[in-house]
Symmetry: C3
Subunit: 678 residues, 3 copies
């Protein structure tokens, strides 16, 4: 099953008419029409309304909302509404409330607040999902099912402890295997009964916080268990829906690079992926781009939905800047360029009260249509209308893959040593950014993905190497491709046990190196590094971790220029196999210019540098529609115009203008072009 | 009832002879006499002595202290002694101990440690207060009653949960009203039973800390409830006192700008206000001045007591600087200048042990009278003696009001968005400071105060607008006055619900503007702002929040010079009504020079710039005695002499010197003059 | 009893073959032989193996390890293995788990995790220690007993509360004495029953954290109680060992300057001292040197063991740098120079899993002998072999003593006022460093130590003065010696009660000064200070605390140059007694150059400046063997060669080279010489 369609990009967002009187709802629909809003996400937090007591359901409000939507010609992404507990449930069954990492049983409050192991929660949530599905399965407005909301967090209660122990039995078999996996001969931890195992928390293994554990093995397993436990909640609701609604696609909104949950474990169970895009303040445009590509990679490249984005400001941050004129449009087209087949906002109308009242909305508290934000939203609505169904179902023809692995993320960041300053996302993003700014389309894929389609595989910070991955990477090189990995890769197995071999463990043959020791330095220490040779020398620097590389077949591409390892390799490449394949190893956290230099060298080997790579602020992205139509999205992230020379003849679908190859092609500041190449 | 009198400014402070043997007490009184100390605050933490067990009272120690005081001709401000629990009570009734914000039931320790909803505490404290009052009501030394001490903090136990629910019933009536007020349609929070409501804490709505709540409504109500619950403790003791002592004035010592308690809710219940002045390190002199004026505003301008100040260092801070020579005298006269009719210290003799042993005292551990501090205290004692009853009961003839509103303070600082960096006190102080340094006397008043006496009303950061306030502010302008407000004003109603109107909501007609959007930026981002016009142009900058103002009748007075809103108004003024009144709006956090410029423009409209406004280090303050005597206090906060030209003929009551109008008038470094103008 | 001997410096470290299969163990012994490793610390965390259930012991693993060690000619430092609970014990007896400072009962996890007051823990640990001792008492491989591991932390459970009350009864006698000691007349704390006393924690007296207490008295006593409670665990195990093994020496590994435990209370109960040396990142070499000397001072100057050090990186820190080439050797020789008679590592082989898998080891995960680290370890092994028994039992002939006092450390750092920025270790280290860099050998001794052997006694930050200490310091000066103390000394008695006298209390007569007041300033405020006179003037600065000194017999040696106390003394000296003795007082936190200047003045009075004092990077240390052999260790801490002129004729035991007096003597970068002077 794939994302549901309405013949164009669904456009709209979260809508909570239950918070408003009738007159306001009238106004809403008038304004929606004005802004070409056709899709409403409804009922996400409606539990306390739809089920005001254990034995009472009241669908009056939802009925009205869906009827009105249908009458107005709009479609609904209908939520089961189970992401926030109703007060009566928390009062009647205190165990639906979570126990937090500090061991404190919570009381009623907030949202995303349920214990995933609580039978009371699960049966109530599943019952509600079934009731909602039963009632609205055939509704003409129904477009998709939206289960829960932004699943996340974790619980550490005794019910979870029990569930964890069951999970461990299933995944380890016996206690001997578990003791071996967790290395419990260390620090007298050998378990002799399943009941002795406690969730890893501030009260057990994590005295110094969530990233500091005495036993990485138990902590990794709890992260996997939590992923599965929350997935279990999703699946129970999905099953309840499927009883009544076998065909309408089901999703839940993810959060991009969200560490607590391994979305790759969830991906097979969604009919289509969707996510909420709230990039960090001042993140470069490649940051959300990476998240888009990660989300697209969940379903093997199939288009996804942008389920939420802020039309203007956020509210939950310490400082909430405004999206400047043009930024919203640019970010929305970026989503489409990376594979989004829907563009939705949180939120359509600003709530009056509670913690998101200052969260930006399409319609503000004054209900006006003459605000800057409303005008920009409306303009974008017209563009999507104009575009019609052209991009729907289109896929990205990437020849570069970037491996993204939650296990490596977790293992790297809960590690004691060598440096807490190394952050998985930073390392992954640096390589992604380099390749994107060089013009490469990239698939961000799990470590289990097939790699045959790719000429280049980037595997930064691949701390954990599982299964046959090393062999599959070697196969890439064996057929002439290039594999790149970095410091702190190839270190541990699936249980976070060090490989009893030279670093980088199973990757060593491909990389042709050996690492015996590694230095770490504070964030303000930069060591100079020289890349290239006399003909093309680049001086950059590196930080955080400095592995000392002994080449065992590889040749140096860059060298350290400081400390006692001055003159030794910082970057190497290794010919591998008969067909000119190579393994590249970057032994330190190079500054971005260094990463750029390395990645462009690698891409150039396979002719993967894009036509506008000299304009780093101009992002390009290609999508190929089912009918073969090739769309090239040009996104100018700079506040100045971009003056390009067209690399091909094409028509801009937003303006209808045709641009000829080799002629000037100008993008406005923050401008967008959607070029049909064929 | 007003502050009690002894024919001069009461001078002395907290005194704990119960910690010392008889010989030391002899010494104390000798030294008190030497320093002209006539007033002793006694018994503040004596509970465990006066009631050593549930059924045993022992007044021997207090008897001795009061007898000795009377014999020496001193007067006593007698505490009920209920601010710190005795160990036996905490052991016998564990529920007298608080449960903290993290949900942890405390055990015995510290002070200000009682649960305000505990019947055991309340009955014990009330009984003690009654006993103390019964015993000392007619005592010749008795000057005033001092209930508790620095009321503050909060409790989150189940008793408080019950009391909170009762409070909510009283204040909201029914659950529907409460659900509406708290906007519980959001995030599935609709309550169907009072018992479902939990105190807002780290375990319920505040996962990220006290200022981060999912529902501002419940948090605001808990702040109000806590204010009232602690007030209930005060009132119960006051009632017990009144049974035996109907006429002696009752107070409790406040803490100036203390966020947790809305002192305006307490003010009607005190016979006179008193407070403890411990300004933050390196605060400008206008900081304590603002607090003085706030305290004076509690009882409609009536004089208050300075109940505590440090004679030299504090101890509780990370770094505790010394008050340099002259600083104590200057601060003490500043208190009197702003309306204090008593000047008291914490503490008269330094304790030997526990956490305040290094807190500065009039008499140190060595018991000397030849220390710098003792000499300065004695000198000041002589000055107060010299002054006699001249200032007693004198009032400040202010024509400028500054609105201070705990609800706005709370609402602003628990808000999600636009910026956690905006702090209420900072904004209020910036405008207060500008007006004070321009020489204006200011009444700092609640939003319910009558505004007829004022030409200028400053209402910075008036986030919440309640009741008929907007109308009363319009009335100020309608009769020709000027009202100034700032960004983030006029946003929410009494339950923190956004107004469904253009920003600044009910203030918009007066301000003649409309605000659709607002930017926020990190603390290190400063945007240039230009104020005035060609004839008088000032370049300053602004930070934190930048509202984008659309004039709707107002004219720009200042404009942004950066970002996409460059050229739009940063400051506006709006003619309002027939009599030349104006509404001024400052749409961003101007740097102090910008605030100064704006405020002086406003004051100048009403001829409220003081005669020494060109000497920003020279503070002036006027008090008018009941007999019409006009006192002008001149306070030189600079470490250099201030060379002024006298604006009027006057006599300095401290020196007896007469200064003629237009002749030179010099103040010593940190010098003080108390000029009798009539 | 003293440290056990094997005719040379024992060399080796922590070894955990129980984590490995047989083949790896074979490899281990081969590599040990290669590296001259002869001593293995075994069984530290083996509890869950040796006692897999309450009623089951299994000594198979330990038997094998010791047999193999004996067969290979190696000796074993055998641990009782009680430092980490086995899971079954925590499950069966939840009260063996600690309750933390926040009042949270922990569940199973981590290590060093037992409640010292739990009868279940104590009986189980003692039983295990007895069993281990019974089995291995006569084993030929046995060299020493190692009880527990790095004792530390604290527990706040109800069992500890009970034990604390018992401890208080023993140490205070009655409640009146306790109330007096703790100054409970303050803040209504007078206790009328022992049961009212709660452990001082976040829930009682410490609302703002471990260093912030309302009552210093109770907190000091809890620190003493915790020291004694953990010592009780040690002693119970030692007694159990002694039943079976009356002669083998017993130790436990300390942690140098470890604040939570007063090692001086433990010292008499160890047969020899041992400690784990993990200096802070970028600490100067005098930092570990101070810790070495402190450890040597525990047993009156007897040699100690270096029980652990990292052969390369640590893992537990945020950033874990590599020990650069030569640093390990230098640090090891520094230990020997300061009195270590054994040099051991943590760890011999890197564990595969858990939180120390990246902790540096002699043998890495790949099991290689051709790594840099293995080569350096082997080289050092050969050097120790070469040295033979020469240094064993040798003592340091110091004429300078530095007082180190846990009570002063605690009292200073839990004090409210004058400045939280003053840290005991920083102040002590500054004076130690100055004296060491001037070439003085130093004994770091408790305040109860005999002082007759010393010409100079340095007593920085001696906040608490107990017993007859002041008199013994006066005696030092009376016989012509020099005593130096600093600001914040002589302030409180053994219960943290201020002396009712001029500051510095009992030290005032010796210092000839009086201090009435003291300023404190933020860390970034430096006040200039001038030291010396016209002939030898030095300009330096000072920070944090500035006491204002009134000389009462003393003469100024340095003066403040800023603030209102400019021109008053910052450093004084006072002639005391008939024999030219002096008391020096430093009233502020001088910058290191100022401390250096002062300390060199003091040392010069007694001809204690070393021959290489002009080379601050060259550390010297003397040891005198039982046979009178005088060894001078020269340690070059610089990365450049040190070119000295030999001050005496000597032979370098590491090279066999003889150097003649007055001839050049060169040390390599990070080089070491062990000169035999006789």
């Amino acid at each position: 099953m794939t994302a549901p369609g309405i013949g164009k990009i669904p456009y709209g967002g979260d809508y909570n008419p239950e918070q408003w009187p009738e007159a306001v709802r009238d106004d809403d629909h008038r304004l929606f029409t004005q802004a070409r809003i056709d899709t409403l996400t409804v009922g996400v937090f409606a539990w306390s309304l739809t089920q005001p007591a254990e034995d009472a359901y009241d669908f009056g409000v939802l009925d009205g909302i869906l009827e009105r939507a249908a009458a107005e010609g709009r479609r609904v992404c209908l939520a089961t509404g189970t992401a926030a507990l109703p007060p009566w449930l928390a009062r009647a069954h205190p165990d639906v409330n979570r126990t937090d990492f500090e061991g404190r049983r919570h009381r009623y409050g907030q949202r995303h607040n349920f214990c995933p192991s609580s039978p009371a929660y699960k049966s109530a949530a599943t019952a509600l999902a079934g009731r909602v599905a039963e009632r609205y399965a055939g509704h003409p407005a129904l477009l998709a099912w939206h289960i829960g909301n932004e699943y996340g967090g974790a619980c550490y209660c005794d019910l979870c402890a029990e569930a964890f122990r069951r999970w461990l039995r299933e995944h380890h078999g016996g206690l001997d295997a578990l003791n071996d996996a967790w290395y419990t001969a260390y620090w007298s931890h050998r378990y002799t009964d399943w009941d002795q195992i406690e969730p890893p928390s501030a009260l057990t293994e994590h005295w110094r916080g969530p990233d500091h554990t005495a036993f990485q093995g138990i902590t990794l397993d709890y992260l996997r268990f939590t992923t599965d436990a929350l997935l279990g909640c999703f699946l129970a609701e999905k099953e309840a829906i499927r009883e009544h609604s076998p065909e309408t696609p089901v999703t839940t909104n993810f959060m991009g690079m969200y560490r607590p949950l391994d979305y790759h474990r969830w991906a097979p169970h969604l009919d289509f992926a969707s996510w909420d895009n709230y990039p960090p303040l001042d993140a470069p445009p490649t940051w959300p781009a990476l998240a888009h590509d990660l989300m697209r990679g969940l379903k093997d490249g199939a288009p996804f939905w942008l389920m939420e984005q802020a039309p203007s400001t956020t509210a939950c941050r310490d400082v909430n800047p405004l999206r400047r004129p043009g930024e919203l449009r640019l970010a929305s087209w970026q989503a489409v360029a990376h594979g989004a087949d829907a563009v939705l906002y949180f939120q359509l109308r600003a709530s009056r009260g509670a913690c998101e009242k200052y969260f930006g909305a399409v319609i503000g508290h004054a209900g006006r249509d003459d605000t800057r934000v409303f005008r920009e939203v409306s303009h974008l609505g017209r563009e999507f209308e104009l575009l019609g169904d052209t991009p729907l179902g289109a896929r990205t023809p990437a020849r570069t893959a970037l491996l993204f692995d939650w296990d490596s993320w977790w293992a790297l960041e809960i590690s004691d040593g060598p440096s807490r300053l190394v952050r998985y996302q930073d390392q992954v993003h640096a390589y992604y950014r380099a390749a994107r700014e060089a013009g490469a389309d990239i698939d961000v894929v799990p470590v289990t993905a097939g790699l045959r389609a790719y000429d280049v595989v980037l595997a930064p910070a691949l701390h954990m190497v599982k299964g046959d991955l090393a062999g599959r990477l070697e196969a890439v090189a064996a057929r002439g491709g290039t594999v790149l990995t970095t410091f702190l890769s190839g270190r541990v197995d699936t249980h976070d046990r060090a490989f009893l071999a030279d670093v980088p463990g199973p990757l060593a043959p491909l990389m042709g190196i050996r690492v015996d020791e590694w230095d770490a330095r504070p964030a303000d220490t930069a060591h100079p590094v020289t890349l290239g040779d006399d003909k093309d020398v680049v001086h950059t620097d590196a930080r955080l971790v400095f592995e000392i590389v002994l080449p065992r077949g590889a040749e140096p591409v860059g060298t350290y220029q400081a400390d006692f390892y001055a003159g030794t390799p910082a970057v190497t490449r290794h010919r591998f196999g008969e067909r000119g394949g190579e393994g590249w190893y970057v032994a330190t956290a190079l500054a971005q210019p260094g990463v750029d230099w390395v990645v462009r060298r690698v891409l150039a080997r396979h002719d993967l540098i894009g036509p506008y790579a000299d304009h780093p602020a101009v992002e390009t992205a290609t999508r190929v529609a089912p009918d073969g139509t090739r769309l090239l999205f040009l996104l100018n992230h700079a506040p100045e115009p971009a003056r390009l020379t067209a690399h091909a003849t094409a028509t801009d679908l937003l303006t209808g203008k045709r641009s000829e190859r080799s002629e000037p092609l100008t993008l406005d500041p923050l401008g967008v072009a959607v070029l049909r190449l064929r």
